[in-house]
Amino acid sequence: MNQKTIFARFIRPSLAWAVAILFFFPIFWMVFTSFKTDADAVKPEFLFLFTPTIENYVNMTENYDYWRFAVNSVITSVFATLLTLVVGVPAAYAMAFDPSRHTKDILVWMLSTKMLPAAAVLYPMTFLTKNFLGIFDTHFLIIVVLSLINLPIVIWMLFTYFKEVPKEIIEAGKMDGVSTWGEIKDIVLPLAWGGLASTALLCFIFCWNEAYWTVRLTTTDAATLSKLIEGNRAPEGLFFGRLSAVSTAAVGPIVVLGWFCQKQLVRGLTFGAVK
């Protein structure tokens, strides 16, 4: 057996497993801990050997109003994703198919907004929304904020996917007399469907996971699952079991969603269009 096969057969899989376990361990630990009592959770000797309990989950739904937070998360993430796409699709379309000399600059500028430290605008955001606009702790505010945060990345992604639509097909559409809206609806979106779906999914995931603003711009009415986790951080002690249950229940839906959408995301439709 030569060296290459030793590497291919043992070393490479071992490395892959090591990396996988390293990344997966915190999640594994979190799920495990969620089935322990708070007392068991802090004892290292009970890492694997413990009596599983669903007390934390029962507690979470009965006493901590899990479903209200979950519904808020769904509402804000769904509508923020829709709003982002409604603004992002036309923007990316214009930049991909009718670029000006400044299109590249605009793209870079949009991305540069991600460089602004969020904490820098924390005070104005809180003050303005609370005292001036009166939209603090509303779904509307969270939807708008989540959209704005994700817009640059969504436009970038859509721009890249739209760029892959062969130029001639767009031109064929022009020769056929399709309107701008028809071009987006009948040609670009069907062809970039896979890209659109993965962009939407990613945007949804980002919205769901967002914690900085959702925690700080809400109190109760529009509070999302991030806020629920934050609320269980327990200043008075370490309720790891409870915290883990809440966290597991918060990331669970998004993991399941990602799992199911995996296949759809990889599909491309452009094959056969251009030789």
Binding site: P166, E168, I169, E171, A172, G173, K174, M175, D176, G177, V178, S179, G182, D186, I187, P190, L191, L269, T270, F271, G272, A273, V274, K275
Partner: protein, 345 residues
């Protein structure tokens, strides 16, 4: 049906002018081929007629209408793209019907036109398939069908055959020729292949670096090229060039040819005849013979170092390294200015 007129047409990208003052008259029902090496501006010119490129200067008219500011779909033109550019997510039927739907034609009329075109192009069996289930040739027929159903006044073809294999290319070329006969529509066709140009065109437009080098019928361009560029571009294998001093002076005189020493002489490979040493206009060393059965291409080298290709019905008797003596008629000999390359005829 309509004519197409280009007057002083310019195209520039930023500061770079790529089409320079093109004037051209395409008559109603004419089959015009734009030909030239890649980068000569032939596709750009076609796309300007189509309305896919802005016109930086000058005027393009289709029929009586100046179309500079008219949307592509309102110009009465249809285009067949090199890459077919079919809508991959639509069936063949929908691909062909799409433009008609945009024009808000009634459904029965759309159906009639699509089925009619499909019948003519033998693609009726594929109407429910998507493009990816079709071969290259079938896709190209769908692309042509999509143009036909719109019943345009002018058909524009942008290198429609260059993605097809050789056998299919010949077939599709014939189909396009038949289509022109049947519809009698004006057609503008871009290619870099001079065989396509010669076989299809009523009129060939030879372009180089964004300028028209010559316009004429295929036979006119073949017989009377106005410069060395056109002379070499039309005809295969291309025309042989040599300096006039290579010619045997007395033989040239007896044939009635008078040329300055630095003039360029052009003789097509098919116009050479072998002769005796005494009567030879040009003598050259045999280098290589390519025997194609039907004819042979004989590669020679003159004493002055010019490479010559001669097309012969049968391979020569001589072996490599031996001399071959050649002559031609005065009518088959082209004279060009040695510096400008312009025809002296």
């Amino acid at each position: 049906m309509a004519s197409v007129t280009l007057q002083g047409v310019l195209k520039s990208y930023a500061d770079v002018e790529v089409i320079h003052d093109v004037n051209l008259e395409i008559e109603d029902g004419e089959f015009v081929v734009f030909v030239g090496p890649s980068g000569c501006g032939k596709s750009t010119l076609l796309r300007m007629i189509a309305g896919l490129e802005d016109i930086s200067g000058g005027e393009i008219s289709i029929g009586e209408t100046v179309v500079n500011e008219v949307a592509p779909s309102k110009r009465g033109v249809a285009m067949v793209f090199q890459t077919y550019a079919l809508y991959p997510h639509m069936t063949v039927y929908k691909n062909m019907a799409f433009g008609l739907k945009q024009a808000k034609l009634p459904a029965p009329e759309i159906d009639k036109r699509v089925r009619g075109a499909a019948e003519a192009l033998h693609i009726t069996d594929y109407l429910d398939r998507t493009p990816k289930a079709l071969s290259g040739g079938q896709r190209q027929r769908v692309a042509i069908g999509r143009a036909i159903v719109r019943e345009p006044e002018v058909f524009l073809f942008d290198e429609p055959l260059s993605n097809l294999d050789a056998a299919l290319r010949v077939n599709t070329r014939l189909e396009i020729a038949r289509l022109h006969q049947r519809l009698g529509a004006t057609m503008v066709y871009v290619t870099h292949d001079q065989v396509e140009a010669m076989t299809l065109a009523d009129k060939i437009v030879v372009l180089r670096d964004g300028r028209i080098e010559q316009v004429g019928s295929p036979i006119d361009l073949y017989e009377n090229p106005q410069n060395t560029f056109v002379a070499q571009f039309i005809g295969s294998p291309k025309m042989n060039f040599m300096t006039a001093k290579t010619l045997a002076g007395d033989v040239a005189g007896s044939l009635g040819i008078s040329a300055k020493a630095d003039d360029t002489i052009g003789i097509r490979p098919e116009h050479f005849r072998t002769t005796t040493a005494a009567k030879a206009l040009v003598s050259a060393t045999l280098e290589l013979v390519e025997n194609l059965g039907e004819y042979a291409l004989v590669h020679l080298l003159t004493e002055a170092g010019d490479e010559i290709i001669v097309k012969m019905d049968t391979p020569p008797q001589q072996a490599a390294g031996e001399m071959i003596h050649l002559t031609t008629d005065k009518a088959s000999l082209h004279q060009f200015d040695g510096k400008t390359g312009k025809s002296l005829a």
